[in-house]
């Protein structure tokens, strides 16, 4: 809000849902279409022009749905709005946990959920030592990253050295802290379950030729039966990270053992909705409506 409005009472928008987004993707568009269809008042808040003072004790909107594409802006928008005593979905805490692969692994382990062995290496040199001790192959991942970027399968010491040399050359100190993870034989596919408000909406397989199965990298979505175990794991994983709206990624090994890999707090669901004919936007707005009324 402009500085001159800080001392004036905030315009009452207590019945207005703020949708925080700097980019209106297909997902945001269908959510907005759903809000309009139900005559629910909303305001799109572009995070690129959002600023909030520490001394602001309130914000116009009672409730915010955080659909910001930038992890950084999503986190700080949530922090600022929560600081102004506004309910934000997903919460700042969940965005922080879900956005950090090691924090996610810790949360999943604390909840007693099956997850691949994960090693945190605080420097590229530590990663070399860890890879040597763990053995090959081993997966290397940045602490924070999306769409499968900078995830690699290290098959031998020579490849590891080359990858870690690049890692060392990255400018930020955070880039030098990496996760090594046990590779799971997943037969070229993983499972994505979308959870909204504690309910698993459905599951898809994401099949790829390579071993990275992100849709952003061209993986194909196929229907996956959502059995009780799968739904239970996904719902528990979302709860463990605090994400009320989540895309939970799981792996299944040849023996049928399932592992929770990660929880995405800014879930993209176009492929999921299209493949399963599941109205994710409707489920999100149902959840928002119930939470606003609570």
């Amino acid at each position: 809000m402009p500085p001159e409005e800080q001392s004036a009472p905030c315009q009452d928008k207590s019945d207005v849902v703020a949708l925080v987004a700097s980019r209106v993707r297909w997902e945001e568009k269908v959510i907005l279409d759903e809000l309009e269809a139900r005559n629910l008042p909303y305001e799109v808040v572009d995070s690129r022009t959002l600023y909030m003072s520490l001394t602001m004790h309130s914000a116009p909107w009672a409730f915010a749905l955080n659909r910001e594409i930038s992890q950084t802006r999503a986190l700080y928008a949530a922090l600022a709005l929560e600081g102004a005593r506004r309910r934000v979905v997903n919460s700042a805490r969940s965005i922080e946990v879900c956005g950090d692969k090691y924090r996610t692994a810790l949360a999943l382990r604390k909840a007693g959920l099956p997850t691949p062995e994960t090693i945190l290496a605080l420097s590229p040199d530590a990663a070399r030592l860890a890879a040597e001790e763990f053995g090959y192959p081993v997966v290397i991942k940045p602490l924070m990253g999306s769409w499968g970027r900078r995830v690699a399968l290290l098959r031998d010491p020579e490849t590891t050295d080359a990858v870690l040399d690049y890692c060392e050359a990255l400018p930020t100190s955070q880039s030098h802290v990496v996760c090594l993870q046990e590779p799971i034989d997943k037969a070229g596919r993983d499972i994505r379950v979308i959870v909204v408000g504690g309910t698993a909406l459905g599951a898809i397989y994401r099949q790829a030729d390579g071993w990275r199965t992100n849709v952003a990298l061209g993986a194909e979505a196929r229907h996956c039966p959502l059995d009780e175990e799968l739904a239970g794991l996904a719902v528990a994983a979302a709860a463990a990270t605090g994400a009320e709206i989540a895309g939970v990624d799981l792996l299944e090994d040849p023996d049928g053992q399932r592992y929770v890999l990660e929880v995405n707090s800014g879930v993209e669901f176009r492929g999921f909705s299209s493949r399963l004919q599941v109205d994710v936007a409707g489920a999100i707005v149902d959840y928002l409506t119930a939470e606003v009324a609570a």
Partner: protein, 55 residues
């Protein structure tokens, strides 16, 4: 509604239901464009994806 691609100047038909900050692709030069104004309809080059974008 129509607008012009800022990159190649092609005239682009824009759906009536388009929303502010929505992304469209220029059919000719394939540039990603963002709707930055509805009245008048103005498309600008969309911001390049940043490292922390996405799920």
């Amino acid at each position: 509604m129509t607008s012009t691609c800022p990159e190649c100047a092609r005239e682009i038909a824009v759906a009536e239901t388009i929303r502010l900050s929505q992304i469209v692709e220029c059919p000719d030069c394939k540039s990603e464009l963002e709707l930055v104004s509805t009245q008048p309809v103005i498309l600008a080059l969309a911001p390049e994806p940043e490292e922390d974008w996405g799920e």
